[in-house]
């Protein structure tokens, strides 16, 4: 069995095969278009925030600027630095580009999930989902892909055979590996409540606004996930990978032409994918806004298509938030980055996960939920004080013995 999609349950015939091919094509084209528009949107929005005009020459509102830049980059000379490791140098852009597209495959892009509907649609007489793949491992696939994406940046810096790209990629690796832990732990809170790994299952569990996981997990996992995702994307304020002031240009300094463009494409594609993932996990994905029995329905549109509209609207909000981050927040220092990841986000997500697990156990066994929550908070408080004591001790020792690192 390849996936949970009813389309792929029986023997593969021509019609299912064509539908799958169509879906692949649509996801790929939509991905590329979304990336192109995202670059334009980011430049335009940032220009607005900084009181500039931004791109305005190519096409209406400069919307074709990205296309023009892409074509220009295609025709630039493709340089290989003489000290570069040729094979790895050529491989690295693809290692960061391909995962960016793969992760988009598991996002439910539409469908009717209301009142526990399965989100399945009938297409040319075949029942399927509006989602390229619905593997049984679901969101773990996204985690696996994001852990593969590290290779692209890491190998790009190393294979350039130059000092600053290497520094950039070493930073990137440490950053992405450490924030992946916080990402996974805050994801675990969502999985604990939804009880399934499949993305369509997670979406169909979030019918009304109260069921949206941002509320039902108590907002903290969402913030942790959001911060960790920003760090995972290497976007500002966590863009130490390409800190121009310190590293000349970062891991992609030695790259030129289309290889350079591929890194940018991957970065923006990842931003879109990560926003879609946040929406899927915490904001009900294609679910409409619903409070109790009241559903904010868009008239005339079929429910399945309406899901796509809702998803796009929600994704746009997060894309704007990412741009907003970039325009307003200064870059973190490297030690601040590591402190935030290891000393705040990971313990906080772990503690919150324990709290949710205790509450769930209490509900299953009919214990008094307030007593259990109070006891859990007391335990977490003791853990917090112990951790603070450990930090204080290590600071003191560092002062007496000199810095270790």
């Amino acid at each position: 069995m390849i996936a949970l999609d009813p389309l792929l349950q029986d023997d593969l015939l021509w019609a299912p095969l064509l539908i799958v091919l169509l879906k692949v094509l649509v996801v790929f084209v939509v991905g590329l278009l979304a990336t192109m528009l995202m670059v334009w949107f980011e430049r335009k929005a940032i220009a607005g925030m900084q009181n500039r005009i931004g791109p305005n020459k190519a096409g209406p509102f400069g919307i074709l600027q990205t296309l023009a830049d892409g074509i220009k980059l295609f025709f630039k000379e493709d340089l290989f630095p003489s000290r570069a490791d040729r094979f790895v140098f050529a491989l690295a852009p693809f290692l960061s580009f391909v995962p960016a597209f793969l992760a988009f495959a598991i996002i439910p892009l539409g469908g009717d999930f209301r009142n526990g509907s399965s989100g399945e649609v009938t297409l040319f007489g075949q029942v399927t989902r509006i989602q390229l793949a619905d593997p049984p491992i679901g969101v773990l696939f996204a985690l696996a892909i994001s852990s593969i994406a590290v290779y692209g940046i890491m190998l790009a810096g190393w294979s350039s055979g130059s000092k600053y790209p290497l520094l950039g990629s070493v930073r990137a690796t440490a950053q992405m590996v450490s924030y992946e832990a916080a990402l996974g732990l805050s994801l675990a809170c969502v999985l604990l409540l939804s009880g399934t790994l499949s993305t369509s299952g997670i979406v169909s569990a979030q019918t009304t606004i109260v069921d949206w996981h941002i509320i039902s997990t108590g907002i903290v996992p969402f913030f942790i996930f959001m911060i960790a995702a920003t760090a995972e994307l290497n976007r500002p304020p966590f863009d130490l990978v390409e800190a121009e002031q310190e590293l000349v240009g970062g891991f992609n300094t030695e790259y030129s032409s289309i290889r350079f463009a591929l890194f940018y494409l991957a970065e923006f594609m990842n931003t879109v994918t990560m926003s879609a993932l946040i929406v899927t996990l915490f904001f009900g994905g294609p679910q409409p806004i619903a409070v109790g029995n009241f559903v904010l329905d868009i008239p005339l549109l079929p429910n399945a298509l309406e899901g796509t509209v809702w998803l796009l609207a929600k994704i746009l909000v997060f894309l704007y938030i990412y741009i907003w981050f970039r325009a307003t927040l200064p870059r973190l220092r490297y030690d601040q980055l590591m402190d935030l990841g290891w000393k705040l986000l990971i313990p906080a997500s772990l503690g919150w996960f324990m709290l949710l697990a205790a509450q769930r156990l209490a509900r299953q066994n009919n214990w008094n939920i307030f007593v259990v929550t109070g006891a859990s908070i007391a335990v977490l408080l003791i853990c917090y004080l112990l951790m603070q004591a450990a930090f204080a001790r290590s600071t003191r020792e560092r002062e007496t013995q000199g810095t270790m690192f």
Binding site: L140, L143, A144, S147, I148, Y151
Partner: protein, 178 residues
């Protein structure tokens, strides 16, 4: 179909394994290891062990080999080692004996297990639309956290000891150097 997947994955695994040994550059060897790990993940998926495949990619390919590469890059050991000098003289004969022993054990296990696989696999729920997508994950979690919970906890204690020991060793070396 399954045979085709197996051949492709097996080729990936073997190519990667040979690459780890043959490639002179440590970074290339580590990348070959990634190829092997991916091949194993593909085989896991072909055997319907989706969760294992995901963990294989997240933990091994995504964290452990990244750590290898990180150390190689950070310490700058990316130059070719001289294989002529031997720090431990008994190393090579011992390695040959150990690998032959491992080969013997593996062949014995395969010969012994041949024909018993169906019998051992009975009672395992394979995920599909009826069993739910999480049949795999649920069964793994049940066996880890009920039947093998002691072994699981002891392993995590072992890992913590390893981390604490490493930190202690580095501190000792630093203090001694002063």
């Amino acid at each position: 179909m399954e045979f085709f997947v197996f051949v492709c994955a097996a080729l990936m695994i073997l190519l990667g394994a040979v690459g780890v040994i043959v490639r002179k550059h440590p970074v290339h060897a580590a990348l070959s290891l990634v190829l092997t790990l991916f091949g194993v993940a593909v085989l896991f998926i072909a055997q319907e062990a989706h969760f294992l495949a995901a963990v294989q990619v997240i933990v091994y390919a995504g964290a452990i080999v990244v750590l290898f590469l990180f150390v190689i890059m950070l310490l700058g050991v990316d130059r070719v080692e001289n294989l002529r000098t031997e720090p431990l003289t008994a190393q090579r004969p011992l390695a040959i004996i150990a690998s032959l022993g491992l080969l013997g054990v593996l062949v014995a296990a395969i010969v012994d297990g041949n024909g018993k696989i169906n019998e051992r696999g009975s009672g395992i729920n394979v995920p599909d639309l009826q069993n739910g997508s999480d049949a795999n994950t649920v069964q793994l979690a049940e066996s880890i956290f009920s039947r093998y919970v002691v072994a699981f906890e002891v392993t995590s204690v072992l890992l913590v000891i390893a981390v604490v020991g490493t930190v202690l060793l580095t501190r000792k070396a630093k203090l001694g150097a002063k």
